[in-house]
């Protein structure tokens, strides 16, 4: 049996939810397919949002409320296997064998975090003292920042650009959110452990967003975070299970080594598995596994196929406000398409 909707949205993250809400309010029947048990995607794992430290829970609550509309049908734990188009109708098949059809389809399959084990020299997965940004965020959520030995860390180092701007792992692009996220997390650590020493290793600090630069300045002025310009080239475990790192302080032009209790890798943003799979299947695959719109400036939500639209991080790394704005734009394109076809 095929269940028909006006629009099917693949992905129940912020992009999918906002797009669904905006389309549903125009009187169209929308189906959201989410592969996990709960909607909200990565927001579920974040405590505060940069740059204003708004509680991510509040955003999640508002987003969840948006799905509570008579025109929105929400299917969780629905993993999309295949999408195809026949006679101007889109068909979506889930792994459970359910078949849905619609006039328009939105891809909002989002991103995933880079697997830091590919950067072997940084010791992620080898040493317990090396964690990634998501694991640190989980500690911040629990208000319990501890080393693997259960001690309070006194010296913490952040490494930026892990898995982004890196030819060796095939990701040439900048993930855009890691710099500001490192600033945010270092402030949160300082609030939980006021006497902790924090070092942030960077290649370039990219604060290209409203209030980002101000937060960066605040982290230096109020929270005494130390910024060192240099890429950490290797990490090794000491006998007392701390992490020794080597870098060059490129501004003083001297090699630098230090031992830290916790090494946090600011892992970059990559296209999610679903993004790569579906965009390849639909032949709209762009660079680095992301989906490709027809024109970056003029038609960023449209694709080469009529009735197929893109929203959010399936195109490129975006911040949350950008994702939500993009989802609204996608909704407008879809409503326009439904009216004229």
């Amino acid at each position: 049996m095929i269940i028909h909707f006006d629009v099917i949205i693949i992905g129940g993250g912020p992009a999918g939810i906002v797009a669904a809400n905006n389309i549903a309010r125009q009187g169209y029947k929308v189906l959201i397919l989410e592969k996990e048990l709960n909607i909200g995607s990565h927001i579920k794992n974040i405590k505060n949002l940069f740059p204003n430290f708004m509680k991510a829970d509040n955003v999640l609550y508002e987003l969840t409320k948006k799905t509570d509309h008579k025109n929105i049908c929400l299917e969780t734990e629905a993993f999309v296997e295949k999408t195809y188009k026949e006679n101007n109708i889109w068909f979506v098949r889930t792994s459970e064998g359910k078949l849905y059809s619609s006039h328009a389809l939105i891809l909002a399959t989002g991103f995933r975090i880079f697997d830091a084990r590919y950067k072997e020299e940084l010791g992620y997965g080898l040493y317990k003292g090396v964690i990634n940004t998501v694991e640190l965020e989980a500690m911040i959520m629990k208000k319990d920042i501890k080393t693997a030995q259960g001690k309070l860390p006194q010296k913490i180092a952040f490494v930026n650009c892990v898995g982004s701007r890196d030819e060796k792992v095939g990701n040439h692009y900048c993930s855009r959110v890691c710099c500001i996220n490192a600033v945010k997390q270092s402030i949160e650590i300082k609030e939980l452990i006021p006497d902790a020493e924090i070092y942030c290793f960077y290649m370039d600090i990219r604060m290209a967003g409203q209030f980002y630069e101000e937060l960066y300045r605040k982290s230096q002025e109020t929270y005494h975070v130390n910024y060192i310009r240099g890429r950490v080239s290797e990490a090794a475990e000491t006998i007392d299970k701390r992490i020794q790192i080597k870098a060059e302080d490129t501004l003083s032009q001297l090699p630098l080594k230090m031992t830290v209790d916790l090494l946090v890798l600011m892992t970059g943003v990559e296209a999610s598995d679903s993004t790569t799979k579906l965009s390849t299947q639909l032949k709209i695959n762009g660079e680095y596994g992301f989906a490709k719109s027809t024109n970056l400036h003029l038609s960023d939500n449209q694709t080469i196929h009529k009735g197929l639209f893109l929203a959010g991080c399936c195109k490129r790394p975006l911040t949350l406000p950008e994702t939500i704005a993009d989802a609204r734009a996608a909704a407008l394109c879809v409503v326009d398409y439904l009216k004229n076809n």
């Binding site: 020299e121 650009c161 701007r165 890196d166 030819e167 060796k168 290649m203 370039d204 310009r229 240099g230 890429r231 950490v232 080239s233 290797e234 080597k246 870098a247 060059e248 302080d249 490129t250 032009q253 001297l254 090699p255 630098l256």
Partner: protein, 116 residues
């Protein structure tokens, strides 16, 4: 002439009107990946030579790029050409080939007859 016990030190300013930046063109022609360097310092941090002796490839590369060729020949002798810097470089710069070519440009006798 009266010896006052001191002399005028040579200028340590980078003067892009006068300094020889053309040598670097030879490097980028032979090793195009040199242009991609973003001066992150991963090469000098992982360097095996710097464990024993002051050696900083990133700095030498930048000095060469800016046409500051004085004393670079002796500096370059400190490299053991192990190639570890190539492994950590995020931009895939062939640092070893750059050092090879710098030595040739600076007329290092050992490398004069080697074709790279």
């Amino acid at each position: 002439m009266q010896n006052w016990g001191f002399s005028v030190a040579p200028s340590r300013i980078i003067d892009l009107d006068k300094d020889d930046v053309s040598s670097y063109k030879i490097i980028t022609d032979k090793v195009p990946s040199a242009k991609r360097c973003l001066m992150c310092g991963a090469c000098s941090a992982s360097c095996t030579s710097k464990e024993h002796i002051a050696f900083n490839f990133r700095k030498i590369h930048l000095m060469f790029r800016r046409g500051q060729l004085q004393n670079l020949s002796e500096e370059l002798d400190k490299c053991m050409l192990c190639g570890k810097c190539r492994l950590v470089c995020p931009r895939g710069v062939n640092a070893r080939a750059i050092i090879f070519n710098m030595r040739i440009i600076l007329n290092d006798m050992t490398y004069k007859n080697i074709k790279v």
